[in-house]
């Protein structure tokens, strides 16, 4: 089944497209077996905490494109995340030698009467005003629960504005209630760009696309040595650059949870080859990824000698770290593919990853290639993770499980989670830059940050002495998955 359909204005959500689940408790290996046997089990919860919605993730990828304006067709509260992204936009401009500028984001401020009489006129007015103030190269319109339930034909409104303003005016369907898997928002943003911005290739270039957030440019030198040029896309792209992504030589992933749809879309629609191995985290994972990219870019021999050279360079230091960390117990909480990457990194460094709380699970990515399965690769290379929870945040499950496991280290990858490690007196680490841990160097990078986190015991120990606990004793005595119910279902994917 093909998953990329650019004729539809809305991307199909991950639950339907990939069979993604957000509730599971068991072992990692068992989860993989269930997937293979088509008996993957998604759980529902009678108690749940705020998940976060896909709108923020769509906005995340669209709002940092350099020359656009964004209109959020929603009540004003949905615009609460504007500034968080604007902050990132401004900070990262400095790292890229770009002039300082605010992101240009508008809310249509849907109010009660609009839910009765319609909000289309308001949307038109806002798009025109955004155009007047900003003169962007494109305007993206992100939707909301309210605009979705009102149910107007946004497409036709935007089509006529596109003619009037003579720039792309593109809808991005990301109503909060659409999906429990927030990464669907990434898909929605890429869908919008593939559908309305990208154009057929005029020629082929030596560019290798790296869909990413705003991480460091770790691929530059490596790809240059192979005769290619890294092009980091979406945040800090220009519309012109995105128009020509179809001309690239390949797409690589830093996290397929992020860019599964973009990678498969570019390959299926424009024939841009996708490097389908899981991202390059951990020494073993990096070896596999390197060999894969060598094949795709036709640089097999160069890559082999690169691998050999890099192994020799990092081995002595790596051995030291392994000795230091050997046998320490770690807990990981993060999004899917990046969480698997962290598990690989920690295992590589000698940690025993005893448990993980991972925000969702994609049984397959959009390329439908089983070799892309990052969790399968981790289990194969480093062994099972016995306590593998899938929970879309759900801090109450994390706290409960953390207290039982009492690891030596918690590595988290989303805000709102680290505080629980610290409150329980567990050294905790959050690394913001996704590219920080990539490749051979990345293993050492991570090791040095872990060393710091383990060293600063005073802070967490003292904090834990004065921490409050909003959970009842009753809850902490239950099993972490006590509120997960639900039935087995067969996902025909």
């Amino acid at each position: 089944m093909g998953t990329i359909n650019l004729k539809e204005p809305s991307v199909q959500i991950r639950e339907k497209r990939l069979g993604t689940i957000t509730g599971y408790a068991g072992g990692a290996e068992e989860l993989l077996t269930q997937v293979k046997g088509c008996g993957i089990k998604d759980s529902k919860r009678k108690f749940s905490q705020c998940i976060g919605c896909n709108a923020g993730h769509a906005f995340c990828q669209l709002s940092l494109i350099q020359d656009v304006a964004i209109v959020n067709h929603a009540p004003v509260g949905c615009a609460g995340d504007f500034f968080g992204f604007n902050f990132v936009y401004r900070v990262e401009q400095v790292n890229r030698n770009l002039p300082p500028a605010n992101g240009r984001y508008f809310s249509t401020c849907i109010e009660e009467k609009d839910t009765v009489f319609g909000a289309a006129a308001k949307l038109e007015e806002t798009v025109r005003e955004a155009f007047r103030r900003v003169h962007p190269k494109a305007i993206f319109v992100t939707t909301s629960c309210a605009s979705g339930i009102i149910g107007e034909d946004i497409e036709s409104v935007l089509d006529s504005l596109e003619k009037e303003l003579e720039i792309p005016v593109v809808s991005c369907s990301c109503e909060g209630f659409r999906s429990k898997t927030w990464t669907t928002g990434f898909d929605a943003a890429y869908h919008a760009v593939l559908r309305k911005i990208a154009k057929p290739a005029r020629k082929k270039t030596n560019k290798v696309l790296v869909p990413n957030f705003w991480g460091s440019h770790v691929f530059d030198n490596f790809l240059k040595d192979l005769g290619y040029e890294a092009q980091y896309i979406m945040p800090f792209s220009t519309i012109k650059e995105l128009e020509h992504i179809s001309e690239a030589a390949a797409t690589i992933h830093i996290c397929p949870s992020l860019s599964s749809y973009m990678g498969a879309g570019l390959e299926q629609v424009y024939g841009v080859p996708e490097v389908q191995a899981p991202p390059a985290y951990g020494v073993k994972g990096t070896d596999i990824w390197m060999r894969n990219i060598g094949k795709v870019l036709n640089r097999v021999d160069e890559v082999e000698s690169y691998i050999k050279r890099r192994h020799e360079q990092i081995e002595p230091k790596l051995a030291e770290y392994r000795k230091q960390f050997e046998g320490k117990r770690a807990y990981v909480t993060a999004g899917a593919a990046h969480g698997h990457a962290i598990i690989a990194l920690l295992s590589e460094l000698g940690f025993v990853v005893e448990a993980a709380s991972i925000f969702h699970h994609d049984p397959v990515y959009d390329n439908h290639n089983p070799e892309s399965d990052a969790l399968a690769q981790v289990v194969e290379e480093y062994g099972d993770i016995k306590k593998y929870h899938v929970c879309n945040k759900q801090a109450f499950e994390l706290v409960n499980a953390l207290r039982r496991v009492q690891p030596d280290l918690l590595v988290a990858r989303h805000s709102g989670m680290t505080v629980w490690g610290a409150k329980l007196g567990i050294p905790t680490l959050l690394v913001g830059d996704e590219q920080f841990g990539i490749g051979y160097r990345g293993v050492l990078n991570y090791a040095s940050r872990i060393e710091e986190a383990l060293d600063a015991v005073e802070f967490v120990t003292n904090l834990s002495k004065h921490s409050t606990m909003p959970y009842t004793k009753w809850w902490l005595d239950q099993q972490p998955q006590a509120f997960q119910g639900g039935k087995k279902k067969c996902q025909n994917i």
């Binding site: 108690f47 609460g80 995340d81 401020c109 629960c145």
Partner: protein, 443 residues
């Protein structure tokens, strides 16, 4: 309500969940889409508090709830929240999804209330208003559905007052401000229900709301519907001081107005004012030479782009105590029209010594106002300006080499703990913070 907003500086009614987080051992329960709490805390919520942020229970509306309704799901969630979260007060806030679909939240919640469980429901659909409006709705709902059910006999307690000042988290310095106001009011002989933050006594304190001798509203308009509601419900009179008192002059004026209204012991009040002013002005005196002599330029003109309570409070303070002249003032909080005249009137009387015509604009579309401030400052390149605004204004402050003090959300560039700007202490703190920024610009 505005047509559109660039650079939003407030949230929707669900944003009032932060008012619940500000109540000791209070927890909001959201009957809403999955993203609401994240978006709110991203704008107005540094830190989780006791049970805010990712601890907040939520029904996380899905497509089927929007089609078939989500009442059963809400019942399950409230039931389980009572078991899982260790709190004294559970406030259900409904978002757009359930409001448009038409879930009967009141009847779901009334079952819990009939079983004497501390659960309250408020309709805060995002499209119905902003979090200034939502704040009053939440407080009034708690009064009607919790306080009224759990209070003792209504007996006016002499000297007890309820303080309604900052909207928690929308005012980034709410905790410090409330703490300071409570401190100075208690110093003149009152007993103060702070209701929010560290200096409050949690739900036990809330239960005594009906017993207050009078209520104090210190702020432009957001809390007025609460005072009016209490006047109607418990016949409690209220004093409205329409801005945050910052610094010596305004704090003394505030205390004297309270003293007159509450018929307090004038001698005690004046003695306190004298003692505090002495201390306060001895500090000001120390800095006067700096303000007059510093040769490399300090701001002489202020543009505010913030909530009415701060814009007024700071304008008065900066003009009268630091000699910083108010340029055009922009009020971003979507002040309802009926409250605007009073605010304009206050600006007319900003100086005791001369007529001053301070231009004031009410406009929630802060993106537009920010551009105007940039033009205004660039029109006077010889004058150094101070901008009182939010994180959004770092851009215009940098572009015009102005000094920026962030007093309005998003505050991202500041880490706020106990800082407050009200009272005598807050005034001194404001002076330190402003000139800290000014002096920090020199190499």
């Amino acid at each position: 309500m505005p047509k559109y907003i660039e650079q939003p500086r407030y949230s929707c009614a669900v944003g009032a969940m932060q008012s619940v987080v500000a109540i000791r051992r209070g927890v909001p329960i959201l009957h809403s889409g999955p993203g609401c709490a994240n978006k709110i805390t991203s704008l107005i919520g540094q830190g989780e508090g006791y049970a805010g942020g990712s601890t907040i229970p939520c029904t996380n509306a899905e497509e089927k709830d929007v089609v078939f309704g989500g009442e059963k799901k809400l019942t399950d969630l409230i039931e389980s929240s009572l078991k899982v979260i260790d709190a004294d007060l559970y406030v259900v806030l409904t978002g757009c999804t359930s409001a448009i679909v038409g879930d009967d939240v009141a009847s779901v919640v009334s079952e819990f209330q009939d079983n004497e469980q501390p659960v309250v429901a408020v309709d805060t659909a995002g499209f119905r208003g902003n979090n200034h409006v939502g704040h009053a709705q939440v407080v009034n709902a708690i009064i009607d559905q919790y306080v009224e059910r759990h209070r003792g006999p209504v007996e006016v307690e002499k000297g007890l007052v309820n303080l309604f000042a900052s909207v928690p988290y929308q005012d980034p310095y709410w905790n410090g401000n409330i703490e300071e106001l409570k401190k100075i009011l208690e110093a003149i002989g009152l007993k103060v229900n702070a209701l929010f933050g560290h200096e409050s006594g949690g739900v036990e304190e809330w239960k005594t709301i009906p017993n207050a001798e009078f209520n104090i509203v210190a702020g432009a308009w957001s809390s007025l519907p609460i005072a009016k509601h209490l006047e109607k419900k418990y016949k409690t009179p209220y004093l409205h001081f329409p801005y945050l008192p910052i610094g010596g002059i305004e704090t003394s004026r505030f205390l004297r107005e309270v003293a007159v209204f509450g018929k307090l012991d004038t001698q005690l009040v004046e003695a306190y004012i004298q003692r505090e002013e002495e201390k306060y002005y001895s500090y000001i005196e120390q800095t006067a030479d700096f303000m007059l002599e510093f040769r490399y330029g300090i701001p002489r003109r202020v543009y505010a782009i913030a909530e009415a309570s701060y814009v007024l409070g700071f304008s008065k303070f900066l003009l009268n105590e630091l000699g910083i002249i108010p340029g055009k003032q922009f009020i971003v909080d979507d002040t309802p029209e009926k409250y605007q005249a009073k605010i304009r009137e206050e600006f007319k009387n900003i100086s005791e010594y001369k007529a001053r015509n301070v231009e004031v604009e009410f406009n929630p579309d802060a993106g537009e106002s920010a551009l105007e401030i940039e033009r205004l400052i660039k029109g006077h390149p010889e004058k150094r300006s101070l901008i009182l605004g939010s994180g959004w204004d770092k851009s215009i402050a940098d572009a015009t080499k102005s000094d920026l003090l962030i007093i309005s959300p998003p505050v991202t560039y500041r880490l706020v703990l106990s800082c407050g700007y009200t009272g005598y202490t807050g005034g001194l703190r404001a002076i330190e913070d402003i000139y800290d920024r000014v002096l920090g610009t020199y190499r």
